[in-house]
Each structure stands twice: as C-alpha cells, then as structure tokens.
Symmetry: C2
Subunit: 429 residues, 2 copies
C-alpha cells in the first residue's frame, strides 16, 4: 500500500491549533508510519496572517477567507478550532456539505448543536469527530463509541473541568480560600480571565451532554441539565468533608434511571475510597459504569495545547480510515432522539448540610422532628465548634428525594434557633 497524501485545512490557530501544528511536525514520521499517509496542513484560517507566531509556517498557508478552505476540493479534512457557536457552526455545516470530514474540539457547539451537525454529516455521508471536546487528550469519546458497544451504560461520573478541580485541590491542600485559589489558577494558566463558564459548571455540563449522547443514545437540551458551580464551596465544608472521609469535587453525573435520564453538575462529596477522590489539580477523570464491563475510569490532563492536539490528530487518523476505505457510509453514530431529563427535585441523594444554630436546649429535638416529619433520616450528626452562643452543626442524611429534603430544609431554616444560609451539598451515591 502506497503512502497517500491527505490535505488538511484548519480553522483557527489558537492554543490547540498551535499544538496541532507542532505535533504534526514533531511526530510526522510516526504518524506517516502508523497511518501510511502523509498529512499536509495546506491552509489555516486566521484573523491576522501577519501576527507573529511561535511556529514557523510559510506565510501562504494563512488565509482570512474561510472559503479558501471550505471550498477547496483538494482538502479532505477540516479541523475546526475557532470555538464558540457562530461562525463555527456555519463553517462545519458547509464543510460537511462540500464532502469534507470534520474534526472539532468545540464542546459548546457539540453540546448545543451536535445532533444537528451529525445529521448534516449523515445526509452528506461524512462524519464529525470530536475526541478533543471532552477531557483534552484522554481517550473517552472513542471508547464510548467503540469499546462499550455491547454495554448498557448505567452511569457516567466525571471530573471534567480542570480549572475547578485545580481550585478545589488548592483549597483542600493549601488551605486557601476560593478567591486566592482562583487567582493562583489564573496565574498558572489553569483558569481564564473570565472563568465563569468553568466556575459555574457550564463547561462541565457541555462535556457531560456530549458523553451522555454517546453513552445513552439521546441528545440533550443543555437548558434541562441541572448546574451548580463551586462558588459556594468553603474551606469549612472542605474540612468537615475530610473529617468524615470525603473530598469535595465538581462532579458531572449522567445516569440512566428506571424513569429516564438524569444529568447534573454540582459540587459533590466523594468518598476517599472512590477512585475519583484522588484526581487532583488540573487532572480530569471520567468514571463509567456499564452492565458488562463494570467500572472503568479514564484519567489524564483534561486540557492544554498538546494533549488536545493529540486527540485532534487521533481523530484525523480516524477520518483517514473513513476516507481510505472509501466508505460510502462513513457514519458511525445513528440519529438520536431528544431526551427528556428527570428534574433534580425528583432525584435521590444523600445530603451534607452545615449551618449555625443558637446553642440552647431543644434545638436538636426541633431538628429531629422536622427531619422526621419529612421522612429524612440522618446518617451522621456532628456538632463541634461553639463560638459565643452559636453551635455549628453538620449533618449527613441517608438517601432521600431532593424535594423532600428541600421541604425539610425550609422548615429547618424557619426554626428560630437556626441561622440562614446553610451549606448544602450532595454526596456521590
């Protein structure tokens, strides 16, 4: 079999794009040997071709006109690394319509419009590959697509946002508060100047939606996913959690329950025994439970230039296999129906609750009554610190439906001895 030449165009040349160029150069011999193909990056769409760049590239490779890539019949594969919804969505659609295979690391786009784009791909007998959209270089999309084909996935539990994991790790290990940990993350490049999508959990939700689509076979409206960020996690909660054998992580959970699918992202107490508990700093890990394979976990660096470029180039090799075999039908994913998610109120969890109360007789009895009335049974109660006349109470419930817990919580807060604004977190079941 001869060495083919495949021409590739790239839209965008930021962090990941530079990694793609570097890696294609550095490991070109190996890529050529493993794929029996030479890949030539022939055009790159950029805003400003004259901007100085770290990587040596001929000036002619740059263009400001997307049609130079999308309409070029000699280009077979387009790598989209612009990010955001538009114009990336329009470019990808047009690329598929002109018969190109598309690779993207764009999680926002794949979460919000993945099904629409995959449908365009199916119509045009092409495909979209998006390994880089979740977990950086960690192989997770391909295993979900190909390795768990005979498994019914019951649950996905992931630490899929490196920024928040770094912040929570620093808070836990260095006793920093949230603001200082965020500041450190920004200094080290683990958090962006505007970190809101990470901090508030949206980034993790997008990744969860993408994985859930493959694992459960549905597409999901991002608006339906319950999202809670890490802004309310305090050092006190981290310390109490540690004391009872847990670590607080921002966890994305997708579950196939008897009544339907449930997707949620929230700070979660993870038992020290659980493999996710030791995933620290900017690392990501995705824990998948299948009915046959049992529990498998994928761990690694969830972001960064070269790790994500590694995923993009693996997708490029997969696109090549489609081209090579002249697949009339290169489609791998079938059409999906939209899932109707179970709202968080109806889900069962164990809850952690921390609040301040007047240190006077009868408070515990009142608490016990309120929880008893709502059938919320307690697994653990800690009362230790006393400042002035105030007692700090931490309790952990057994499994309870969230709406029942919330009813109890409302009554608790309305007790005259209880101070407002309790900390409330869920445990990983």
């Amino acid at each position: 079999m001869g060495k083919d030449l495949i021409k590739v165009g790239m839209l965008g040349m930021g962090t990941v794009g530079s990694g793609v160029v570097e890696l294609l150069k550095r490991n070109s011999d190996q890529i050529k040997e493993k794929t029996e193909t030479a890949f030539a990056l022939t055009k790159i769409l950029v805003r400003d071709p004259s901007r100085p760049r770290n990587i040596e590239l001929a000036q002619e490779i740059f263009t400001t006109n997307p049609d130079d890539i999308i309409e070029d019949p000699s280009i077979s594969i387009i790598i989209e690394l612009i990010g955001g919804i538009e114009p990336a969505r329009d470019y990808i659609r047009r690329a598929l319509q002109s018969g190109k295979y598309v690779i993207t690391a764009n999680k926002d786009l794949m979460a919000a419009h993945g099904e629409e784009l995959l449908s365009t791909a199916r119509e045009n007998k092409r495909n979209i590959f998006y390994e880089g959209s979740v977990g950086g270089g960690i192989p997770i999309i391909r295993p979900l697509r190909h390795s768990l084909v005979a498994d019914q996935v019951k649950r996905i539990v992931g630490i899929v946002n490196g920024t928040t994991n770094y912040i929570l790790t620093r808070m836990a290990q260095d006793n920093l508060n949230f603001e200082d940990a965020l500041c450190q993350a920004q200094k080290l490049g683990f958090a962006e100047a505007d970190p809101s999508s990470d901090i508030e959990g949206r980034d993790a939700a997008y990744k969860l939606i993408i994985m859930s689509g493959l694992a459960f076979g549905f597409y999901i409206d991002p608006g339906q996913v319950y999202i809670e960020g890490i802004g309310k996690v305090t050092r006190e909660d981290i310390d109490y959690a540690r004391e009872i054998g847990y670590v607080i992580k921002l966890v994305a959970i997708g579950e196939q329950l008897p009544d339907g699918l449930a997707l949620r992202v929230h700070p979660t107490l993870v038992s020290h025994e659980h493999p996710l508990a030791s995933v620290s700093n900017e690392f990501n890990a995705i824990f998948v439970e299948g009915d046959a394979v049992g529990e498998v976990m994928f761990y690694g660096r969830g972001a960064g230039s070269l790790p994500t470029a590694s995923a993009v180039l693996a997708d490029m090799a997969e696109a090549l296999r489609c081209i090579r075999r002249q697949a009339v039908n290169g489609v791998i994913e079938g059409a999906k129906k939209q899932a109707s998610l179970i709202p968080i109120d109806k889900l069962k969890s164990c809850f952690y609750l921390r609040f301040l109360a007047d240190d006077r007789p009868g408070v515990f009895a009142a608490l016990a009554n309120v929880f008893g009335d709502e059938q919320v049974s307690l697994d653990m109660v800690i009362q230790k610190r006393r400042v002035n006349n105030t007692a700090e109470i931490v309790l952990v419930t057994h499994m309870v439906v969230e709406e029942a817990f919330n009813r109890a919580l409302e009554k608790v807060i309305s007790l005259p001895a209880i101070r407002p604004n309790p900390s409330k977190f869920r445990l990983l079941g």
Copy 2:
C-alpha cells in the same frame, strides 16, 4: 442502510465464552442498533457438547470438530477463547487463511506469537483483534492503537494482574501474610488453583509485551523480559514502605529509553501520590505517558466473564466495520521488528533495601563506605527495631544503575555484621 446478518463462530466456552453468549443475548437490541447488524453465534467448539451449561443454547450449536467453524464459509468472524498456545495458534492461522476475522483474548498466544499471527492476517488481508487479552474490559488496546497515533509513548506502567494486586492489597490492608492472602484470593475466585503464572509475574509480562508492541512498535521475545514475582514481598516490607509514603504493587513497566526498549515486571514501591497507588483489590490500571498527551490512565476490572466479554464484543463490532467497508486492506498494524531489550542490569532505579545487622559500633560506617565506593548515594536510612543484638536497617537509594547497586549489595552482605537475605525492591521512578 439495511440490517445485515453476520455469522460468528466461537472456539471454547469457558468463563469468557459464557459471558459472550450471555451478553450477546442480554444486549442484543442495543448491539443491533449500534452496529446496524445482527450477530448470530452459529457454532461453538467445545470438548463435551453434552455437558450441562448454565446458558440455554440449542444442542446443534455445539461441535467438537474445529473445521465445522474454520471451514464454514458462511462464518465471517471467529472468537478464539480456548487459551494456551496450541491448538489455538493453529486454529487462528487457519481461520485467517480461510478469510475470517479473528478475535482473541489469549494473552499467552498474542505475547509469544502475536507478530507471526498478525503477519498471517496481513498476508490474507484480514485482522486479529485482541482487546480482551489485556485488562479485561478496560479499553486499552484500542486507545493504544487508535488514540495515541500522534504520540510517542515514552512509558507504560501497569498493574495488570488482578490476582497479585488482590493479594498485595489484603496483605497491606488486613495485615495478612502472603499465604493467607493467596488462600483468600483462591476462595473468592481471584486466584486459580495453580496461581504460579500470576504470582511469578509471567501473566503480567505477557500483557506488557502486548501493550508494548502497540505502544513502541516492536515485537518482543518474552524470554528477554525481566520478571520477578511477589513471593518475596513480606508484611514487614509493606509496613516500612507505608511508613515512607509508598505502597508495594506488582508493576509492569515498558520504557522507550535513549538506548532502546526496556521491559520488566517486578514488585515496586509506588508513591502514595501516584494514581496507581490507589488501585486496589482485583482492579487493574494502566498508566501511559505520551509526549503530547502527557499522562493518561485506564482503570477497571482486569478480568472476569462479563468485563472480558464486553471487550470481545467491542472487537466484534470493530471486525464488522472492516467487513462492512469491504476493506480490501483491513490491516491496522504494520509489520514490526523484533526489539532487543536493555537488560535490567543496565537500568537505573532507586532501591529499597531491608536487612538485619549486628547492633554494634562501626556497622553504619562500614555500610556508608561500601555504598560510597560504588557511588550509590542514600536518600533515606531508617533503623528502628532492635531485637536482642540485632538491628533492622531500611534504606532507600537515589537513582543508580542496577549493576552498581548489586555490586554494593554483594559487598554489604559480605560484611561480617550483616545477616544474609536482605529484601530488595525497586521504586517507581
């Protein structure tokens, strides 16, 4: 696209074979939907067709004649689950020659004769898939093959034998000695009646050879791999290791060093900080370091009927993709050259050493001189227990070439104050 029917034959019907039958039945709708294909298991080679089995199957499906499967032109995929070298090797060769795709979970065979069988596959434009041969259901072969195509793998470090990991976990957590832990593993089905291949590290070495073939692009003579089992690991060593922040694991290490490849399996002190340290009981994990992706880890149940069946059926779907696309060239792995491994003597490690010495003046000075003469520098020295006139000394060296360390060790042992039979283990670097 219509629903195709693909006929599958199976050689052997033990633990994994039963899992394949069960899973094909249980999740047939999902498999059909995901692959757009119905798989029919039409023939199974067994020794005794009349033997009662847990799974309901028509009597006609069983045969004692391998040719009923290998020579049946209607069968496209053959799953080999007999294990061992012969006759599995002969059956697979003939199956490939008669144009079938082959799936196997046979690690002994793939480690010893993988290249020969892959070469037969290439000649016949077919392929062998062997995801189930390493790590049970953990996707590791496919990621090494497809996901790390643009990465230069620098190192693979794996806990790939569930039996020994279970034994070492019980020794560490329940303070059992080796014999009792082995006995418990056998009772629970985590160790076979004859556990020697597991205990002595051969099973782990086979799996390392298979992974290294894909990661480094060489085939490897099993006889060249340094193998040391867990028979000499004592509770005392486990306790000392814990004290200095380590856990003892049977680790398989494959490395691409500047001078060549090095493969070895031995009990290893793994720092508590390392993700492999928290891989307990029968679980497996494989840690891969690539130049682009950085560190990724794959974790899960490394054996068992359904987990391994999950891997076998994922391979079946991959074989299908080859058939579907009517790939003239279904070969994924190119031909490999045989690697010449660097012998263990030439590798650098940090060493842990524990021995007894007469508790009298001048012993430490003598030790220090011996290590100094061989340029072995010490990172840590512990002397705590004294029984009668005997002191127990534990030391950890800095990085040193093994042959230099061994020269020093020989001199240490020959000192009159030092008792024979020290414990010596390597640290994960």
